[in-house]
Assembly symmetry: C2
Homo-oligomer: 406 residues x 2
């Protein structure tokens, strides 16, 4: 069954043939829609094409597909049971691991989607403060529930009425946003760096991070870090720990269990009581297999220096792309942490060069993205990056030829 | 590690030691919190106590734990990959199976939580109508997002402002609710029968089901059946199909994949376009293993007459409990479909008799629930029910003795 065949069948039984962030219609034209398998840092589409993958399933796969230690832990748990009448001991072990690993965490609650975690974090903040408003950065992605989905389709004005936007990295803007709802700020929610789609990424200004912390304290509001996308790729202790800024609440998901479905909120002792007052739950939130996979993933990242490995491979990729772009006469912007990289072409406002180049990369066996940040995994070796750079080099050459063509 | 030890550890790292619908503190006093394993219709807690289980993990486990056909399908997919850069062919196959199985379904969209599905269904309805209000039955459970969670803690008035309540099974009440927001009704959302916690279940009045359908048509609103709890235990075609009433949208989850985490919305052709306009997605919504498990679960239910098997076992249980209760001098109410049963004691307003009896059942190896409906699975044999009835008989006797004690 080819990708084309499957697309034809999907058109009949799935709205638009596909939806959401994996909808290939939104990427460049050559992207496959359907995937057959994954192994380490490689994926194969249903037409049998092999890719060195720099999307890592949009974040979740942080150790590489079918990582032995994770698969073993998951299989051991699955042989006992997954979805039971109560959690397994693994829930306690995983919560303990998070509390031991993350300095701002005194407790953890588990769920399934990143959106579950961001939503739950705001519920805890609202329960704690008795207030309603949340300050969030304009354009930031915090999930796809009606309160936060980037498209307004299917949402109501009431569902978005408790949000006040500020500009990322602008303390002035943050303070102005707070002033518009004085006395009613429950939380400031913020991603650890600016990773909005379609534009260059921006690291947080340390002064902004510290200022957000100070403002939350002054307001008596919760500082919520949405670490769903970046968590476990910058610092296992939390992505603002290197800046010495600790949140009251953190939302986690994606990379937490190397592809198994899980999300979590961690929080401070002061918010433990309010967290207990919520009724927030789901049919599969206490399932044991994903928790076993999460524990094995975090321990493996810790024990094997997984983030350092990603940094090493990510640096090689960034340096290689820099040299190549230059040699082909392109000015490119490489932004964000090297473990969550992105490349844009200078002056490429309509992304047409990025589209052409990423499509060319695909043809040469390198899967990356024209308008969304990429993800490194600990499975990317020096050899994998070297092999990928062969593909990207040809893609730069083809892109140059395309631009020069009459 | 005993249940008591784990509770002590959990108190330190999980708010309240546990949260959500599996929080044993909310059941009768003897209930274990932590579970070690499951097999067929049996579960074992961490203290090694074995139960014939009538909660089925609150619905998901519909074929019994570790069902060979489901496990085989899941393992086969897992060996290839789960969370990839796109869905696998299995997404198309599963959507086709739902469209083939459910007469009201022309398409399907997948997610992880029942709440994802109910929320997504309302988004489709709102996108289709450009309206905001939703009519829902007072006391109905449609999930645990801020718009629908039964507790208001952590929610804001705006998040609930688009709901208008009616009384289940009252067409008059439904019409009155619609009249209060005339011209702005996007959807009527309704469970296939009244399965609110803490009270006797109530089957839908066929006239109410037909009236809700007619009202939705008259208003140009979507009729949404929330089949998350009841789906795949009443009729594979959808729980109102026996009444000849077809919804525009249906939310599915729980039993769909025998415990693997998945949810779905199915809808009619008329809503296909609006569904395409949503940005509704999640990191694990396209993962292939749960889809493979779902396909195997639905096919097994279909091919083996799974619902008929549950009806047979459920009828034996209901008849046995009826006879036992009578012989011990109790008047009990057994309500709901036999595949999603519940028993209450007449006049037991504070549920103290139900609490005592369910605790006694536990001690005799039968896991059921004092204030939430139970679930049958296709793994419950005549022998299992007979064995369970030995336990419930002793529990009735002990409950009688307890009530007679000075």
């Amino acid at each position: 069954m080819t990708d084309a065949d499957l697309r034809g069948r999907a058109q009949k039984v799935v709205p638009g043939g596909m939806y959401g962030h994996l909808n290939a219609a939104l990427f460049a034209p050559g992207y496959p829609q359907f995937f057959a398998r994954g192994d380490g840092c490689r994926q194969w589409d249903v037409d049998g094409r092999e890719y060195i993958d720099f999307m890592c399933s949009w974040g979740p796969v942080v150790l590489g597909h079918r990582h032995p230690r994770v698969e073993e832990a998951a299989a051991r748990q699955a042989a006992l049971g997954d979805c039971l009448n109560g959690p397994g001991p693994i829930m306690v072990e995983l919560a303990e691991l998070l509390v031991d690993t993350v300095p701002s965490a005194d407790w953890a609650m588990f769920s399934k989607n990143g959106t579950d975690a961001t939503t739950q974090a705001l519920m805890v903040a609202r329960a704690a403060t008795g207030r309603t408003k949340v300050l969030m950065a304009h354009g930031a992605y915090h999930g796809a529930d009606p309160w936060c989905t980037p498209s307004l389709s299917g949402t109501t004005p009431n569902e978005r009425a408790d949000l006040v936007e500020f500009a990322y990295n602008s303390l002035e803007s943050l303070e102005a946003a707070a002033a518009t709802v004085e006395g009613d700020v429950a939380a400031i929610i913020v991603t650890p760096f600016k990773h909005d789609s379609f534009e260059d990424q921006e690291l947080v200004e340390p002064a902004f991070a510290r200022g957000a912390r100070a403002l939350a304290d002054r307001l008596g509001a919760a500082l919520v870090i949405d670490d769903v996308r970046a968590g476990f790729r910058i610092d296992l202790r939390g992505s603002w720990e290197p800046y010495g800024v600790r949140p009251d609440l953190t939302a986690w998901s994606k990379a937490m269990a190397n592809g198994y479905p899980i999300a979590a909120v961690t929080g401070t002792d002061a918010l433990r009581g309010p967290a207990q007052t919520l009724y927030s739950t789901g049919s599969f939130w206490f399932s044991a297999v994903a928790m076993a996979a999460a524990k094995a993933t975090i321990e493996t990242l810790r024990d094997t220096g997984g983030i350092a490995a990603m940094e090493h491979a990510g640096t090689l990729l960034r340096e290689g792309l820099h040299t190549q772009a230059k040699s082909h006469g392109f000015v490119v912007n490489q932004t964000g942490p090297v473990t969550i990289p992105w490349l844009s072409f200078d002056g490429d406002a309509d992304l047409s060069t990025a589209m052409y180049w990423s499509d060319a990369c695909l043809r040469h066996g390198v899967y990356l993205h024209p308008w969304h940040n990429w993800f490194m995994s600990a499975a990317h070796t020096e050899d994998d990056v070297a092999r990928a750079l062969e593909g990207t080099d040809q893609a730069f050459a083809e892109t140059r030829a395309h631009l020069l063509a009459p």
